[in-house]
């Protein structure tokens, strides 16, 4: 299992846990349960965890797939620097956040799930993983080089136009525009 980046799974688990904590909190508040204050906490903590975990980190190996619309949150999460980059901090944060959920039944499941996410993040931290933001690819402006100011004086070696025509049998498609001597 050497190549596994535990943070990827920790992230999925934490996001799910945030949603579960949020749902439990909503039930506790809407149903006006006793100790509803813990449910209100569950709502707040759930929302916070969801926002924190929504942007996926960059994978060390392989292509990183973004979640829809995560770009804005990536900027926010990135702004906290080492606090969000370091997984020990995240593990500790989730551990602390999970505790108040244990005081009331609707949020208990959220509490345990967040605690499990915290453990997986701890494992990721021990293995030296870090959260790197997935930045949008910067399209470099194509500027023609200095030497391209003049058109070429000598054409490159090519077989004559008749031989350059594609053979009909080979073509997977038929060109809508017929090829002439001047087309490249």
């Amino acid at each position: 299992m050497g190549q596994i980046e535990w943070a990827m799974w920790a992230n999925e688990q934490a996001l799910a846990a945030g949603l579960i904590l949020l749902t439990g909190g909503v039930v506790g508040v809407a149903g006006q349960f006793k100790d509803w204050q813990f449910a209100a906490y569950g709502v707040a903590a759930g929302v916070f965890i969801c926002l924190l975990e929504y942007p996926r980190g960059k994978r060390k190996k392989g292509t990183s797939i973004e979640r829809t619309g995560q770009r804005y949150l990536t900027v926010c999460v990135k702004a906290f620097g080492p606090l969000t980059r370091n997984y020990y901090v995240r593990a500790g944060l989730h551990a602390v956040l999970s505790v108040p959920g244990g005081f009331m039944l609707p949020t208990v499941l959220g509490c345990v799930c967040v605690a499990i996410a915290s453990l997986i993040y701890l494992l990721a931290a021990i293995r030296g993983e870090q959260w790197e933001p997935i930045m949008p690819r910067v399209e470099s402006k194509e500027r023609p080089g200095q030497s391209m100011k003049e058109p070429p004086t000598n054409p490159p070696p090519r077989p004559p136009a008749e031989l350059r025509r594609k053979r009909q049998e080979d073509a997977a498609y038929v060109n809508p525009i017929p090829i002439s001597v001047n087309s490249v």
């Binding site: 190549q3 596994i4 990827m8 688990q13 009331m104 499941l109 031989l163």
Partner: protein, 566 residues
């Protein structure tokens, strides 16, 4: 002209029937708990009782179904015995994993409703137990306190809280355990995790054992309580509910008798659990049969070919096996398509080296070493299978289109080899009259191990004078400047500069619209099987093309799309 019904009709029907049963069970059991027997329970908890029991029934149904699509050997057996049935039915069996996922989502959905309803139930039971005044809730909750009667309210004392009760009852504890197992299974089954870190997915998925154990013992505590049938006759709630202060003192209204619902889930899931245990035993027994590696070939593009022999091994074209290499990992089994034909005396797989397990297998088979390896040095392998997938059906169509992307060409390697052998043996039973084969590849060195096969096929067909039987096209979807220069220089030569074949390599992606149109034009009125082993995007595109180019008229041409899925 679209003919979506031909391609998708039966699948949609299966899904609709399944949804219909879910809805029926939900509504039916919701109404069951509106019955008089549960009047007093509902006094305590209201509608939350029905909202908890209805999804519970649906959960029973779906947990019964979830194990069935993953009984590979059972499905292969059904597929084999279904050869006489229409092709449509066997195609449904190919979508087993899709169905497994759908049922899993439904289980998650019903679990959510069930838990939320029970949160209300626990809270309301607690409220009833905390009542100070002599309300009906108070009276009902007191039944069973020191009077040797069966209780109604599962929370027996007012010095506790719902969380404590949840963790000290069998139902609560098993529920929490099962739900945690379910959540872990789902988060590790997300596509991102499954595709990149297969081991995490596979090992975590085995938590389903805990899920099922929790599920079966969930109802043992019998905490869903209602009046006994005989008690309803003596203490009719519609009459006696208002007189709750006088129960037992008035002859019309004795104290009501309560009892719990016996556990029902085991009746639903015992069958599939037994089938699944049997399935794992079959896999285990098959894996214990001796397998010998007879030849190891390393191909460019990080591909390893293993040729093996196993006593009594029988295969069909396009099937796959699960391989285990105990010296690499005791617990991991990985699926690979068979690339050999049934007519050969060995079976082979081509393995791309992409992760931990494949890399270690490569080293164990001496892939790093240049010199000849002694046979006894090669690792022991275990093989489970072969299991059937879509490509088995290839020989049942008159005209077939085979599309393989990259390593996805492997099932078709098996098909084409089998075609070669049958041609060689002048097999009159060969049904396909025309095969169109498309291979989409990103890099040129991936051609090497397949080029030999295509070359021999090409020669064979020229000799037999039937060059038209197999029409194949190879598409190079990624190429750079240097290669482009090479192609233009060798443009006029008879053999392709990359593959050495008479058929020239084409560049870029195929224009499927035109391909389908041409083929439809060449074979009016035929049933054409379209087989793909490749990425999802291509599957969507081909599926759409198949539907669009199929005639609405049943006598016209029909494209039937089949996709491999791993």
């Amino acid at each position: 002209m679209g003919n979506w019904v031909v391609n998708e009709g039966l699948s949609i029907l299966v899904i609709l029937v399944w949804l219909g049963i879910n809805i029926f069970l939900f509504v039916y059991y919701y109404i069951v708990y509106l019955d008089e027997r549960f009047y007093y329970t509902r006094v305590l908890v209201g509608d939350a009782l029905s909202w908890a029991r209805a999804p519970a029934a649906c959960l029973n149904f779906n947990c019964m179904l979830i194990l069935l699509p993953v009984c590979r050997n059972l499905l292969s057996f059904l597929r084999g015995s279904c050869q006489c049935c229409s092709r449509n039915i066997t195609r449904q069996l190919d979508r087993n994993i899709t169905f497994h996922k759908l049922v899993a989502y439904m289980i998650a959905f019903h679990t959510a409703i069930h838990i939320i309803a029970h949160l209300f139930n626990f809270e309301r039971f607690m409220d009833a137990q905390l009542e100070q005044n002599e309300t009906i809730a108070y009276v009902l909750s007191q039944i069973g306190n020191g009077d040797n009667r069966p209780y109604l309210n599962p929370i027996r004392t007012n010095e506790t809280n719902p969380t404590f009760v949840a963790f000290t009852t069998i139902a609560g504890l098993s529920g929490v355990a099962s739900t945690l197992a379910l959540i872990l299974i789902i988060t590790s089954s997300m596509e991102v995790i499954r595709r990149s870190y297969f081991e995490v997915f596979w090992f975590t998925h085995h938590l389903f054992v805990i899920f099922f154990i929790g599920l079966v013992i969930h109802g043992v505590g019998e905490i869903v309580r209602g009046q006994t049938a005989s008690s309803v006759l003596t203490n009719k709630p519609s009459n006696c509910a208002a007189q709750y202060k006088d129960w037992g003192k008035v002859p019309d209204c004795p104290i009501p008798q309560f009892t719990g619902n016996p556990p029902m889930t085991w009746k639903w899931v015992i069958g599939p659990m037994v089938l699944y245990v049997f399935e794992r035993l079959v896999r285990f027994w098959r894996s214990k049969q001796k397998v010998v590696i007879t030849k190891v070939v390393t191909h460019p593009s990080k591909t390893l070919e293993l040729q093996m022999k196993k006593k009594g091994f029988k295969m069909e074209v396009g099937q796959y096996v699960n391989l285990q290499c105990p010296s690499v990992s005791q617990l991991e089994w990985h699926p690979f398509t068979l690339t050999s034909a049934p007519e050969e005396d060995h079976f082979s797989v081509h393995i791309r080296i992409v992760g931990d397990w494949t890399q270690q297998l490569f080293e164990a088979c001496g892939g790093e070493k240049k010199e000849f390896q002694e046979a006894w040095k090669l690792p022991k392998m275990a093989v489970d299978g072969p299991f059937g997938t879509a490509s088995e059906d290839v020989f049942r169509y008159e005209v077939v289109m085979l599309v393989g992307a990259g390593i996805g060409v492997t099932p078709f390697a098996s098909v084409l080899k089998s075609v070669w052998y049958r041609y060689f043996n002048n097999d009159t039973g060969l049904i396909p009259k025309k095969i169109y084969f498309y291979w989409l590849c990103r890099e040129t060195n991936a051609f090497e191990w397949f080029a030999d096969l295509l070359q021999s096929l090409e020669t064979q067909m020229l000799e037999k004078g039937n060059a038209d039987f197999l029409s194949y096209r190879i598409y190079l979807t990624g190429w750079d400047e240097a290669q482009a220069a090479h192609f233009t220089v060798h443009h006029e030569e008879e053999n392709d500069p990359i593959t050495g074949l008479k058929q020239k390599t084409l560049y870029g992606r195929p224009n499927w619209e035109n391909e389908f149109k041409t083929i439809a034009g060449n074979h009016p009125g035929a049933r054409i099987g379209v087989f793909l082993c490749g990425p999802e995007v291509l599957a969507k595109s081909l599926s759409k093309q198949s539907i669009n180019h199929s005639d609405a008229d049943p006598r016209g041409v029909h494209f039937i799309f089949n996709k491999e899925n791993f």
